[in-house]
């Protein structure tokens, strides 16, 4: 068990969100999409240039830029 930034997760890796530190508009947008602590997620893929990242969460696919993923901490089972 270890906590990593969403940016550093590998494709296919699963985890549970522990903390979202984004403020203001970005923070609200992230939370509106259901990215709140306690939510399980899985990395579904990355764009051809490695950014943005596609995440499977709450039965849908959300894409976000790496610098947006930097505000999201995820507890993963095993290190990537």
């Amino acid at each position: 068990m270890s906590t990593v930034l969403l940016r550093h997760m590998a494709v296919g890796q699963k985890g549970v969100i522990t903390r979202v530190t984004a403020l203001g508009e970005l923070g609200r947008r992230i939370r509106d999409m259901g990215i709140v602590p306690g939510t399980p997620l899985q990395i579904q893929g990355r764009a051809p240039l490695k950014d943005p990242v596609a995440v499977r969460v709450r039965n849908f696919t959300l894409t976000l830029r790496n610098n947006e993923a930097d505000y999201i901490f995820v507890e993963v089972d095993e290190p990537a």
């Binding site: 923070g27 259901g34 939510t39 579904q44 990355r46 051809p48 696919t61 894409t63």
Partner: protein, 741 residues
């Protein structure tokens, strides 16, 4: 006859939940698209007659939430509180219930009566999701109706339920959610204060206002300050102390706690068998498998190129034929009017001013229809979101958004597009700054109307390098458009990029009805534009190039020349002429030729004397910096009305008569033999035409899409400045390097 009872019903829901499909299914073709006053967000309204009652349905913009951050959310929220519809039909995607219910909770907290349309029941069933509709309805205390918008299933039940509830005109009953020990007591206190002072309670429920103060909602704070500054300041102070406390003890913020509790509420709501998932959640569905190919690192970009190229070919190839019909129709109309009207100003106004001007713009109609059909298809299938996802990294570097690519390509990113549908295509972009930067730079692309001018100049001055030159120009337009976007985003549209956070909806086959309605709406908006503003501007440009007319003395000179010529003609009716018809017709032909030459000279003199001509000559002092003389200036001025007019005006200015675009070759030969022209000047002109002010039709669209006339004005000035600077750099730089001559 007594007026029919009318109920106002709003449709709310997340993007991609099938809201518009359901709206189309209920209202059919009885709908109307407009804008909310003063902004560019679309307002769709439609009617449905039910048991002698008229249901007026308003399709609110698709939103994930009801905050004050985006225009769409503000519009949706303001509509609900100001227009007070009897009822909201909240459409939720049954296969994605948790996130969709987040908006539902906010509607319920506002207190507005809600009917829940549990849409996409088929997709949910396919994914093994079972929903206990009755239990959900009981727990939420709202009517829940399962629907499948695509097939119209459940539509009648939904309308019946909505009409029945609207008829009782239920009062607003705000839902109270517990936000935990840190927030609830404060919320109670604030609610009491707000109720006591009747603070904003004419619009919003008291607890909702308190919640917005904790969330630091800009709009509510502003309204509060205006109504009761003292109480507003006190509430803000309370919110700040809660904020400080939460940061110190839990390292979090009221907003975050509120969102957490809403999602907690939803989780509790769906527990105990309300939603059952029969399949493992991490199973790969067809849509995900498709994504493994379509967004693959190697195949993704490759397939994207192919798909975008096909869209482009579809739009521009298939519209060629109807565009030609339109053009032929307008030209026939012009000929007809030309033969009916007596020669003179009226005829010139009707034929050259009105029919030519409006015709050149109306000819785009089929093109715009095809373009919107193609874009609606890409958007509704879900592929456009993938394009944005794959290209965002590149476009972000220039301050744009992944979705900007569509507008660029349609505008002529693949040479031969059109900036009018390109500017309209930016509607798929939801980030305001990125959208504006995209629509301001898209006209730099090489649209189809610029190409004949390029072709003429390249054929004349760079005959051996046609393909290379065209390729170079395409690269140059992309490079300059992207760099200018970067500059715009660093200066007048400075600001951080809007959060990306884009949902990739599952791939779906769009409904034909949806595509057609969507396409027609957009096209109709364009037609209305062309019929009004563009008509007025076409007449203005015609006047500029016609007035003041030649002074009588000069006109007399041309008349005398004609007379002289006709007098030279050998008298007919002689037996010699009858015996040898070939000589006679030879003479005739020659004379016709000479008469036409006089006409052309007169047209040149008229043009030179007109306001446009004077303007062109007045500008020579400046334009000589990039090597243009007055003839070019006039042609460029005409090109502002429509780029197609550049060649025909150059033709007049070089005394060659009005040329068709296909006749550019002879004009090219003429320019090549003119001592004033050389390759350097030709290249400077090409670059200038590529970059300078967009045509009237585009400028009109920019004004409409950007929501303010100042952006249209900015576009004209900015683009012309950029074009001038580039052309001067090319011409002066080239001369310095000794490339001229």
């Amino acid at each position: 006859m007594k007026p029919m009872t009318e109920y106002l019903i709003a449709l709310a829901g997340n993007p991609n939940c099938g809201k518009t499909t359901l709206f189309n299914a209920i209202t059919g073709a009885r709908q109307h698209v407009g804008n909310y006053p003063g902004i560019t967000v679309e307002k769709k309204e439609g009617f449905h007659l039910f048991n002698g009652k008229k249901l007026r349905l308003v399709d609110l913009p698709g939103t994930y939430s009801l905050t004050a951050y985006s225009l769409e959310e503000l519009v949706a929220r303001d509509f609900l509180v100001h227009e007070r519809p009897q009822l909201v039909i909240n459409i939720v995607d049954a296969s994605n219930l948790e996130r969709n219910l987040y908006l539902t909770l906010q509607l319920l907290e506002l207190g507005i009566p809600v009917v829940l349309a549990l849409n996409m029941m088929d997709a949910a069933a396919n994914r093994g999701i079972e929903i206990d509709v009755e239990e959900l309805s009981k727990r939420l205390q709202v009517r829940v109706v399962p629907t499948i918008a695509r097939s119209g299933q459940g539509k009648e039940d939904l309308v019946t339920a909505a009409a029945a509830i609207a008829a009782t005109d239920p009062p607003w009953k705000p839902l109270h959610i517990s936000y935990g020990a840190d927030i609830d007591p404060v919320l109670d206190q604030m609610e009491a204060d707000i109720k006591g002072a009747q603070f904003l309670t004419d619009l919003y429920p008291a607890r909702w206002v308190a919640l917005k103060y904790l969330e630091a909602d800009e709009q509510v704070l502003q309204k509060g300050k205006a109504v009761n500054a003292e109480l507003s300041a006190r509430l803000e102070a309370i919110a700040e102390s809660v904020d400080a406390h939460l940061q110190k003890t839990l390292e979090t913020y009221p907003e975050a706690i509120i969102a957490d509790h809403r999602y907690g509420f939803i989780a509790a709501l769906l527990k105990g068998g309300v939603v059952r998932n029969k399949q493992k959640t991490d199973r790969l569905y067809f849509s995900d498998q498709l994504d493994q190919v379509l967004t693959n690192r190697f195949f993704g970009p490759l397939l994207m190129l192919v798909i975008l190229y096909v869209v482009y070919k579809f739009t521009f190839d298939y519209s060629t034929v109807p565009v030609a019909w339109f053009e032929a129709g307008f030209s026939a109309l012009g000929d007809l009017m030309g033969s009916l009207l007596p020669p003179g100003l009226i005829k010139s106004l009707v034929v050259s001013g009105i029919i030519n001007g409006v015709g050149s713009v109306f000819s785009f109609v089929p093109l715009i229809m095809f373009m919107f059909l193609a874009i609606a298809f890409l958007e509704d299938t879900g592929y456009l979101a993938r394009v944005a996802y794959m290209l965002d990294r590149i476009f972000r570097t220039f301050g744009l958004h992944g979705s900007s690519v569509m507008a660029y390509i349609v505008s002529g990113g693949i040479a031969g597009g059109c900036a009018v549908p390109g500017v309209m295509a930016t509607r798929t972009l939801r980030s305001p700054r990125e959208r504006l930067a995209t629509l301001l730079t898209a006209p730099f692309m090489n649209c189809g109307a610029k190409l004949p001018v390029f072709a003429m100049l390249i054929a004349a001055f760079f005959p051996a390098r046609h393909a290379q030159m065209m390729f170079l120009l395409t690269l140059l337009s992309w490079l300059l458009a992207l760099c200018m976007a970067r500059i715009i985003r660093w200066t007048i549209l400075r600001g951080p990029s809007t959060p990306f956070l884009l949902e990739l909806p599952p791939y779906r086959l769009p409904t034909v009805k949806g595509l057609l309605i969507h396409t027609w709406e957009r096209t109709w908006q364009y037609i209305r534009k062309a019929g009004t503003i563009i008509l007025a501007l076409s007449v203005l440009f015609w006047a500029l190039m016609t007035f003041p007319s030649l002074p009588e003395s000069e006109r007399q000179l041309f008349e005398t020349r004609r007379q002289q010529l006709q007098n030279q003609l050998p008298q007919p009716a002689s037996s010699a002429a009858a015996a040898d018809p070939s000589t006679a017709s030879g003479d005739q032909e020659q004379m016709q030729e000479q008469l036409l030459a006089i006409d052309r000279d007169e047209a040149l003199a008229t043009l030179k004397n007109s306001y446009a001509g004077r303007f062109g000559m007045a500008l020579e002092g400046v334009s000589q910096w990039c090597g243009f003389e007055w003839r070019t200036n006039v042609a460029l001025l005409a090109g502002f009305a429509a780029k197609e007019l550049i060649i025909s005006t150059l033709g007049t200015a070089y005394s060659m008569g009005e040329l068709d675009q296909e006749q550019g070759v002879s004009l090219g030969e003429r320019l090549k033999s003119d001592p004033h022209w050389d390759r350097l000047k030709a290249f400077a002109l090409i670059v200038f035409i590529m970059l300078y002010a967009p045509c009237l039709a585009t400028v009109t669209c920019i004004a409409k899409e950007a929501g303010a006339f100042k952006w249209a004005l900015f576009s004209m000035c900015f683009n012309t400045t950029v074009a001038f600077v580039m052309a001067v750099m090319i011409y002066q730089g080239g001369r310095w390097l000794g490339l001229g001559g």
